[in-house]
Structure formats: structure tokens, C-alpha cells
């Protein structure tokens, strides 16, 4: 576990790090929005937990999780205008895609690979989100390819003179790929309206940070592209929101891309095919769970007077109902027809 992010404030030469306390002041979110943000996180967590249950019950053959990343993603998402901005997500972005308009039913259709799954019609593994209508780009598995594509999305917006920003996400492991370098380089040369968010959970499957890169903070990589590199405590949704809002504003002003590093932890193994005990100590996992973004955000909202126990209880019951509904709906949905295996190779 790296030490950065653990405390929230990191002072890295040349890198702006957001202080979590500063983040609660100067917020342009009202209490209703703050609660909605929190409910989004609760929903993502609950959906994800249900998916693991279904996995253990043998109903879902693969699960890949955003647990531990919800705060970072919620804060990030709220900085965007989901009615026009683009999202090119990665497989842990459940919170983000829900915020962008995907429904729990859509997600469960995907997890259970049912006919009518709007992401891929059951063709892709869970975690491969996509919806043209919602401007969520269909994602693939090869890590970091989205980083080389996002500048193209933004280029098109810019060519048409649209006030549209593209958000793309990747894990810190993905920053080792050539495509990461090439994508950031492109976006910066052309000052494109892109926000690159690296969700740094310290491991690429089992490979720890120090075997992935020689810098201690992913945000330091921004220097190679003359773009701001901002590291922020990803357990604190509000701190992330503030940092992301600035990155989005910069993009909308035409000043170009930002590299935003959200320091998080993944609470689950890499996926349902992984066993993380060989490479992460249980103490390390517990230490981070004590800083669960749900706990941190609850406390922050309570301190702001934006959340009562009663309100949270209501949220939890709405969330549960929604997850139940999605599960029932998807379990009742038919599987794809075999003939669907060979359609949509080419147009027409």
C-alpha cells in the first residue's frame, strides 16, 4: 500500500493534490444533490454485492467489481453533464454508468447475460458497459485502448464546436500500456476536452504499484504531457468532485485535458476468478475498509447536516427495492437466441 492517498492530502512537487477538508467548503451541490450522490453510491454497492451473491449461487459466471471505487466515481460523475458529455468507461465503472443513465435492470441483464441486455445483448462479459443512447462507449477488455480513443471522441466534439467533454477511466495498471502514453500525448497536443481518470487501487491484479512504475504517484505522469496531474483521495467523493469539476471546467474552457488520479482500494479480489490472498494481506484490506467511501461520505454528509439516519434508511430501502426488482426482472428475462450469435458482424 502506498502512503499517498491514505491521509488524503499529498504534497507532490509539481502535482496539485486536493485537501479533503477544503473540498467540503466551496461546494456547489445542495443537500439534495449530496444525498442523491450518496444514494448512487449505495445503489452501486448493493447491485455489486447482489452480483457476487448470484455468482456464488452459480447464476452469474463472472463478476468484476467497483467496490471501494464508488466514492471516486460518484464525485467524478457529478462534475459532468450527463445529458451531453461522453463516457468511455472501464470495467469497474458501475457507479459512473448508473450516473450516466444506465438502470439497475440494464446492469442485471448484463450480469445474467440475458436477451435485451442493452450493453451487448449478452455477448460480452459483465463489466463491459456500453450504450450509444447514453453516450457510454461500448467497452472492450484490452486494457487502456479507450485512452487512445477518447481523444478522437473529443476531437469530433471540438471540430463541431460543441461544448462536450469526454471522460475516460482506466486503472493504474493500464497506465503502463503504450496506448496510455499515446492517448494523453494526443489530447494534450490538440488541447482536447478530455478528462483522463486513473483509478489507482494500487494493484494490477496481483502486481503492486512499485512493480508497475517508478513514480510514486500516477499523477506525476502528467508532466510528460504538459497537462495538470491531480491526485485526490478517492475515498472522499466530495474531494473528487471538486477536483473533477476543475478538470471539466478547464476542458470546457478549451484549455485541454487533465490527468486525475483517484486513490482508492478494491475491496474484492480482482474478479470472481481471482483469489487475492496470495498478494494482499488481510490487514491491508481491513485498513482500507475502515475508510470505505460509503463510511467517509456518510460522515461528511452528516457533518454537513445533509443526511439524517431516517433519510439513509429510506435510501437503503429504495436501493434494496431497486436491486430486487432488477434481479427479478433479469432472472425472468430469456437468454439470447442462438441465432443471435452471428448477427451484427457488418452493417445491414
Amino acid at each position: 500500500m502506498t502512503s499517498v492517498g491514505s491521509g488524503g492530502t499529498a504534497t507532490i512537487p509539481g502535482i496539485r493534490a486536493e485537501a479533503p477538508d477544503a473540498a467540503t467548503s466551496n461546494l456547489d451541490l445542495d443537500h439534495g444533490q449530496l444525498r442523491a450522490m450518496f444514494e448512487l453510491m449505495l445503489l452501486a454497492r448493493a447491485l455489486d454485492e447482489r452480483t457476487w451473491l448470484l455468482n456464488r449461487a452459480g447464476r452469474v459466471s463472472f463478476a468484476i467489481s467497483g467496490q471501494g471505487h464508488e466514492g471516486a466515481q460518484a464525485g467524478l460523475g457529478y462534475a459532468f453533464d450527463t445529458s451531453k458529455d461522453w463516457l468511455h468507461p472501464y470495467y469497474r465503472d458501475l457507479t459512473l454508468v448508473l450516473h450516466w443513465g444506465m438502470t439497475p435492470r440494464d446492469v442485471m441483464l448484463m450480469n445474467l447475460s440475458r436477451k435485451g441486455d442493452p450493453n451487448s445483448g449478452g455477448r460480452q462479459m459483465p463489466g463491459h458497459y456500453g450504450s450509444r443512447r447514453l453516450r457510454i462507449v461500448s467497452s472492450s477488455s484490452p486494457v487502456a485502448t479507450q485512452i487512445a480513443q477518447a481523444p478522437g471522441i473529443a476531437l469530433a466534439s471540438k471540430l463541431r464546436g460543441e461544448d462536450v467533454v469526454t471522460l475516460t477511466c482506466v486503472g493504474e495498471g493500464g497506465t503502463s500500456e503504450g496506448d496510455f502514453h499515446e492517448g494523453l500525448n494526443w489530447a494534450s497536443i490538440h488541447r482536447l476536452p478530455v478528462v483522463f481518470c486513473v483509478q489507482n487501487n494500487h494493484y494490477a491484479i496481483s502486481v503492486p504499484m512499485e512493480k508497475q512504475m517508478a513514480v510514486r504517484h500516477v499523477a506525476e505522469r502528467a508532466a510528460a504531457y504538459n497537462m495538470p496531474g491531480v491526485q485526490v483521495d478517492g475515498t472522499d467523493a466530495l474531494a473528487v468532485y471538486r477536483a473533477a469539476r476543475e478538470a471539466v471546467a478547464r476542458a470546457r474552457r478549451g484549455d485541454g485535458p487533465t490527468l486525475l488520479e483517484t486513490v482508492v482500494y478494491r475491496f474484492t479480489p480482482h474478479s470472481s476468478d481471482d483469489d487475492d490472498r496470495s498478494y494482499r494481506s488481510r490487514e491491508e484490506v481491513e485498513e482500507w475498509k475502515a475508510r470505505d467511501p460509503l463510511i467517509v461520505t456518510r460522515q461528511r454528509l452528516q457533518a454537513l447536516g445533509a443526511l439524517t439516519d431516517e433519510q439513509e434508511a429510506e435510501m437503503q430501502s429504495r436501493v434494496k427495492a431497486s436491486v430486487d426488482d432488477a434481479t427479478d426482472f433479469a432472472l425472468a428475462a430469456p437468454l439470447p437466441d442462438p441465432e443471435e450469435a452471428v448477427t451484427h458482424v457488418y452493417a445491414g
Binding site: R123, Q149, L155, T343
Partner: protein, 328 residues
């Protein structure tokens, strides 16, 4: 109709498509100020400006990646890879991304990009400026691959490719750029992708050839026909995926004999697939072995003239194969 060189036909096609549709943009290494190292994009920058004619960093994966992103967001990008030999860094973006986007999204997204790339040898380009590696791409469902060699075809197929809603790899034989001419209308027109062209009609033997070797095959066939009674059908598939296997099968069902000619090395080349299609679907019509003339099994074309010559085939080799096959 005016005669135009292959390079002129492609350039004119690019101009016209860019003029007709704002969504068309061109990007690649040296495509702007320099007008491309072969000068295919010469003049585009002056006419359409830096926003739509983009000199990119030296980074093929992002050239294709950016094209994909722009296509997802409504553009019709035409990316240039300076030499087909340098397309490898972009293979992930081409094969795993562009070619699979429609399928993986269950038809929700599409990827209307064109990737232009000069290919082929015989120009003292050595190992890395001579490659004919079309077979790596023709194996990939979701991708289209075309290799027109006739200027008329090239202009018409470029238009079709740009407006095709799927990703198209558009191969241009560099040896032909300034060597081949044909009548090319000034106005825009389309030549459909997926349709072969029969250049000679005949009854006794079918030759399927593409790229530069099509010229050699035609020369060999014409010489043979001038001297012998037999007639040879010569087919240029033009489009390598989708391949017009109907045209090839119909021809072989008529002639009973098939010779395939390509510049790429033989083992695993597209010629093998064509042979296999015929051996599966027109076996009963075959009067002789299916023969192939193709590049030798060496990593790529060498530089020094005697070595390059030893690598290349010409009409004499093809003529010899015709004679052997005709004798069956």
C-alpha cells in the same frame, strides 16, 4: 474520359469526399504539410485546413484509436498508415477494437473508419517498406480489406469505403502509384466493395491475382493466349474481405483450373483460403491441382537488387505455371 495515375485517382477521391462531406477528416504522419511521403494527400491541407487534415504524432496505435473515437462521435475519418509495414502497433486498435465494436455492442455502435496504407515491394524498400501482409487482416471478421490496383477501381472503391459503415483497410500498391493509369471519370462514383472484376474472359484456366502481380499475370495470360488456342480468365478480386467467392467459383466451374498469384508469402497467405474455398465448393469441377505463385517463405523482401529480384516473381514465372497447369 481522362487517363489518371493510381495516385491521382486516390488523391482526387479524397478531395471530392472531403469537399462533399464535412465529416470526412484525414489524419496520419506527414499527411499535412508534406502531403504524405508519397504525396497522396498533397494539397488537402491547403484546401481543407489543419482542423480536417491532421499531421499526427509518430504513433500508429493512437492514429487508429483517434480515428475510432472520432468515428464513434459522428465523423468519417480516413487514417493513413505511412507504410503497411508499420501498422503492427495499431493491430490491437484495428483487430480488437474497430473490427469488434459493432459485434460487441450488439449493433449499437459502428465504426466507419478507413485506414489507407501503401503496401508491396519491388521498389528497393527492403524488409520494412515492402510488406504485403493483407492476410493478417483478411482473417478478421468485422473488418473489410480492399486492394484495388486499377485507378478507376481505386477512386470508386475509396468512395465506397469512406461511406461504408464498417472499418475498411484500403491497400494501395506503392509500385503502382505512378506506374498504372486508367480512364477515371472526373465526377465521383462508387465501385462496390465485395465484387471481383474479370479482366479477361476465358474457358480453359482461371487466374486470380491482385496487387502488382495482376499486371504480370495479365501479361503472362496475354502472351500465352497469343500463342496457344486456350483462353484464360483473369480475375482481380479487388476486395479481399469480403471476397467475391461466387465469381471465383463460377469461373473455376467453367475452366476447371485455378492458378492464384500474390506477392505475400505463400504459407498462410490469402491464396490458401481461395484455394480451400474452391477445393471445398467446386471440387467436382477441378481438372488439375490448384496452383499458387506467391512470395518465398522469408521474413520480408530484401534490399540489394539481386536479392530483391530473387524474391519477386514476374510474368515468366506465371507463364511457366500456366503451362504446367494447362498441361493437365
Amino acid at each position: 474520359m481522362p487517363d489518371k495515375l493510381l495516385i491521382e485517382a486516390i488523391r482526387e477521391g479524397l478531395f471530392q469526399e472531403m469537399a462533399a462531406d464535412e465529416r470526412v477528416i484525414v489524419l496520419g504522419e506527414d499527411v499535412g504539410k508534406r502531403g504524405g511521403v508519397f504525396r497522396v494527400t498533397d494539397g488537402l491541407l491547403d484546401r481543407f485546413g489543419e482542423a480536417r487534415v491532421i499531421d499526427t504524432p509518430l504513433a500508429e496505435s493512437s492514429i487508429v484509436g483517434v480515428a475510432i473515437g472520432a468515428a464513434i462521435n459522428g465523423m468519417l475519418p480516413v487514417a493513413e498508415i505511412q507504410f503497411l509495414d508499420f501498422i503492427h502497433p495499431a493491430m490491437d486498435q484495428i483487430m480488437n477494437e474497430a473490427a469488434k465494436l459493432r459485434y460487441r455492442s450488439n449493433g449499437d455502435f459502428e465504426c466507419p473508419i478507413v485506414i489507407r496504407a501503401p503496401y508491396g515491394g519491388g521498389v528497393h524498400g527492403a524488409l520494412y517498406h515492402s510488406q504485403s501482409i493483407e492476410a493478417l487482416f483478411t482473417h478478421i471478421p468485422g473488418l473489410k480489406v480492399v486492394a484495388p490496383i486499377d485507378p478507376y477501381d481505386a477512386k470508386g472503391m475509396l468512395r465506397s469505403a469512406i461511406h461504408d459503415p464498417d472499418p475498411v483497410l484500403f491497400l494501395e500498391h506503392k509500385r503502382a502509384y505512378r506506374a498504372l493509369r486508367s480512364e477515371v471519370p472526373d465526377a465521383p462514383y462508387e465501385v462496390p466493395l465485395g465484387k471481383a472484376r474479370t479482366l479477361r474472359e476465358g474457358n480453359d484456366l482461371t487466374i486470380v491475382a491482385w496487387g502488382w502481380y495482376l499486371q504480370e499475370a495479365l501479361a503472362a495470360a496475354d502472351e500465352f493466349m497469343a500463342e496457344q488456342q486456350a483462353t484464360i480468365e483473369v480475375i482481380d478480386p479487388r476486395s479481399l474481405r469480403p471476397l467475391d467467392s461466387d465469381a471465383i467459383l463460377a469461373s473455376v466451374m467453367k475452366t476447371g483450373k485455378l492458378l492464384i498469384v500474390h506477392e505475400a508469402n505463400k504459407f498462410g497467405g490469402l491464396g490458401g483460403e481461395i484455394s480451400a474455398i474452391v477445393a471445398e465448393d467446386a471440387f467436382a469441377y477441378l481438372d488439375g491441382p490448384i496452383m499458387r505463385i506467391a512470395g518465398p517463405e522469408v521474413p520480408a523482401m530484401p534490399y540489394s537488387p539481386p536479392l530483391e529480384q530473387a524474391f519477386l516473381h514476374d510474368k515468366h514465372d506465371i507463364r511457366a505455371a500456366i503451362e504446367r497447369l494447362a498441361a493437365y
